[in-house]
């Protein structure tokens, strides 16, 4: 087959230039507009998830204080909160939002490889969100089966939303998988094929490595969710028995026979565990770049960071059954999964050490993004350590249905990625909007969010040790739960309300700064990676003007000894860097 010089092809890429406002901002094929559409939609969905969590927290902290939160609504809110946050908020924001924005800019490309497919992806995502939200308005309401949707209870009377709600949920998930696959193919092929001259794989910023491996995980893990959804849909609508065992409903036997609910659990978690890393890996990448820029140091152990990302990605496919220790599995099976789970702690810990060592003796600039990035290191270490407890079968068994698990996964995959999201949003805000945000307000936002998150989740560990069960609408009169546990629950709810309300600061800041923010410098942080070197801020359609950039170095040349400035952008050739150094040296001799 003929050799195609790809960078050439890229240079002359046919751009689909918009002709009207609608084509520019609605049916746009520009990756940056699509990124903002994806991100905006994910954030709107996330706000719904946040409000739901505050509602059921009210019930837990102050039972029966909100009159429409009855047991049915409670379960529906918990279910929708979980599903929205994991899939429609975090996955969509990290990959659809940041993936779309960063991939072409950081690689020096004009756009994604398949811009039309990219546009299809965001609109398909919108359809899946609409279907999901429609379930609030159908008879019976949304499904209340828990975000894991375990059969048989999911589709049986007694579970809220067992008729229309669950069907809409399954359809919405299937549509989401299609949307994700269209976007994911784009990111992967763009990263492999559309890098500019000189941008080797090992010169890519860690953000891109995180997005790349996470996308590959997503492409291979989401099919498991799709398969599970299709088979459950058949069971629900067409009366097959893939997952449904012979079962009684209010004393009457149903028409099902012999299906395996455990099979669903395997399929679900074969998707569900990699999903954790689909969210975490882009976060790892983004936070590495933020830490390195604001510490004015190259990221410590770049190669190991890349290897760790790849290793975590690979291992994440062989740990899924640690979510199923209580399903009555073979103990040898449990032992295998406990082992792989603990092994995954090795590359993860390696990343944590590397972040800390990046800070070590750095010229740290404590800007708001750095606050959030360092906050992430704290919450990630805490959440990660409790993962070591839960990875062991014997410790997991007594804890698995308690608030300990809630505390663990919220710290590690809720709070931690969200702190990274805020770090990244503040960090790239000047490039995306062309304006500076308000630094003071951002820092106040940080302290509310960071301390508030601890006020919420730290006490949950104690509740878990007491044996307070999760998923319960009300605790009732139970001897082993002291009355003081209720006080703790109330304080958690108060903290949650404060944290929820404090997010308004973030929205005021980013929306207000669009109008009143100071005009941003093209490269306010002095970052070396390519997205800060665009000719326009914010970058225009096509990103690079006449000529694509050429890359001469990696993305982490900070505080290079003898260099004129404390960073050398990726697109500065050796000769220029040397010239700048010469120009500087007489001056420094004179001092």
């Amino acid at each position: 087959m003929a050799y195609v010089p790809l960078a050439d092809q890229d240079q002359d890429m046919e751009m689909h230039h918009p002709h009207s406002w609608v084509e520019k901002y609605v049916w746009s094929q520009d990756h940056k507009v699509i990124a903002i559409q994806y991100g905006g939609l994910a954030v709107l969905t996330g706000i719904v998830g946040l409000v739901l969590s505050l509602l059921f927290r009210m019930q837990l902290g102050f039972p029966e204080s909100v009159n429409f939160v009855d047991p049915n609504f409670y379960y529906q809110a918990v279910t929708m909160h979980g599903m929205i946050m994991v899939v429609y908020f975090l996955t969509a924001l990290f990959l659809g939002g940041f993936g779309n924005y960063m991939v072409p800019l950081m690689l020096g490309a004009r756009d994604m490889v398949f811009p039309f497919l990219n546009m299809m992806s965001v609109w398909t995502f919108l359809i899946s969100v609409i279907i999901l939200m429609a379930s609030f308005f159908v008879g019976g309401g949304p499904t209340g089966a828990g975000w894991t949707l375990y059969p048989p209870q999911t589709t049986m009377a007694g579970t809220p939303g067992h008729d229309a709600g669950i069907i809409l949920m399954l359809v919405s998930l299937a549509v989401f998988v299609v949307a994700f696959t269209m976007g994911g193919l784009n990111y992967v092929v763009t990263i492999l094929q559309y890098r500019c001259r000189g941008m080797t794989l090992m010169r890519m910023p860690l953000t891109i490595w995180g997005i790349f491996v996470a996308t590959v995980l997503g492409l291979f893990a989401f099919p498991a969710l799709l398969v599970a959804c299709i088979m459950m849909m058949f069971d629900t609508v067409l009366g097959t028995s893939f997952f449904m065992p012979a079962v009684l409903e209010s004393g009457t036997p149903l028409d099902y026979e012999g299906g395996s609910p455990i099979l669903f659990q395997h399929l679900f978690w074969f998707f569900g565990h990699p999903e954790v890393y689909i969210v975490a890996l882009p976060a790892f990448g983004l936070v590495s770049d933020v830490l390195s820029v604001h510490a004015r140091k190259n990221i410590f152990g770049y190669r190991m960071m890349v290897w760790a990302i790849i290793a975590i990605g690979g291992l994440s496919f062989i740990v899924w059954a640690h979510h199923m220790y209580v399903s009555g599995m073979n103990p040898y099976f449990g032992f295998f999964f406990a082992t792989t789970t603990l092994i995954i702690a090795v590359p993860t810990a390696l990343k944590v050490y590397n972040w800390l060592l990046t800070l070590w003796e750095g010229d740290i600039r404590l800007n708001a993004p750095m606050y959030f990035a360092i906050g992430f290191i704290f919450t990630f270490i805490h959440g990660g350590l409790t993962g070591l407890f839960l990875g062991n079968v014997v410790i997991d068994l007594p804890l698995s249905d308690t608030y300990f698990v809630v505390a663990h996964f919220h710290l590690v995959m809720g709070v931690s990625p969200i702190l990274v999201l805020f770090a990244a949003l503040y960090h790239w805000y000047p490039k995306i909007s062309g304006r500076m945000y308000n630094e003071t307000m951002a820092k106040v936002h940080f302290w509310f969010t960071f301390l508030g998150a601890y006020a919420i989740y730290l006490p949950m560990h104690y509740l878990g040790f007491l044996g307070v069960p999760r998923r319960y609408y009300a605790l009732g009169n139970t001897d082993f739960i002291p009355l003081s546990a209720q006080d703790l629950n109330s304080s958690i709810t108060i903290a949650a309300l404060i944290v929820g309300a404090s997010q308004i600061l973030f929205f005021i800041n980013i929306i207000g700064s669009l109008k009143w923010g100071k005009k941003a410098d093209p490269n306010p942080w002095g970052a070396a990676s390519l997205e800060w070197q665009t000719p326009d801020t914010p970058p225009v359609h096509g990103n690079w003007g006449e000529n694509l950039p050429t890359v001469y170095r990696w993305a982490y040349d900070y505080s290079v000894p003898g260099a004129a400035e404390d960073f050398i952008p990726q697109n500065v050739p050796e000769s220029e860097a040397a010239a700048a150094q010469d120009a500087k040296s007489p001056e420094s001799n004179g001092e």
Binding site: L6, R197, M202, I230, M231, G258
Partner: protein, 204 residues
């Protein structure tokens, strides 16, 4: 490209432009081809997960083996013929010829459509024989897997029809070369999937 070599290089030591116009690590292939390769891997994952479910479900006590209808051998023949014709049209277009291009290319698509029709006829026969989706798990898997396979084929036919329109509206064969090549790969993949499906469905 030597993955190990790539990921063990020390980016902080090497300066300057590496790899000339195409950076190291890019595949010397069209982006569409790379995308198709990824898509085939994803489709393989989907089918494999269904097959794993099939085998796990088979071990449960209520499993009743299904005797496959004999028509399936005929249907398989149609799909093989479709694949062969696609290969033929690919060979023609790669060599830059045009002779027999229409025959082979349109023949391939028509045979694929016939395959889908034949699959639906088989479904009807099964329904007429009282084998409904909910009668037993083996038959449910049969409908599910054949349906999924047919859906993939319909997706392929959509690309085929776009390509056919370009050909009939006076497009040069050179313009559709890549489409025909990729269609051929996709068709061979679906033939392979079908043969595996047929084997495991027959092997209960």
């Amino acid at each position: 490209m030597g993955l190990i070599k790539t990921i063990t290089e020390k980016p902080w030591e090497r300066k300057g432009v590496i790899g000339g116009m195409a950076p190291e690590g890019t595949f010397a292939a069209e982006s569409e081809r790379v995308a198709l390769t990824f898509f085939l891997v994803i489709a393989t994952v989907v089918f494999s997960l269904f097959m794993v479910s099939y085998y796990l479900r088979m071990e449960l006590p209520d499993w009743e083996p299904l005797s496959e209808p004999a028509q399936l051998w005929f249907n398989t023949g149609l799909l093989i013929a479709s694949s062969v014709l696609f290969q033929w049209s690919r060979n023609i277009v790669v060599r830059g010829h045009t002779r027999n291009l229409y025959t082979s290319f349109f023949g391939a698509g028509v045979l694929a459509i016939l395959f889908i029709v034949a699959q639906m006829v088989t479904w009807n026969h099964l329904q007429a024989g009282g084998f409904y989706l909910s009668s037993n798990p083996a038959i449910a898997f049969y409908y599910l897997l054949t349906g999924l396979h047919a859906l993939h084929l319909i997706g392929g036919l959509w690309v085929w029809s776009k390509c056919a329109i370009r050909l009939t509206s006076g497009g040069e064969p050179g313009e559709v070369r890549l489409s025909i090549q990729l269609c051929t790969i996709y068709w061979h993949f679906l033939l392979l999937v079908w043969i595996v499906l047929f084997a495991i469905l027959a092997n209960t």
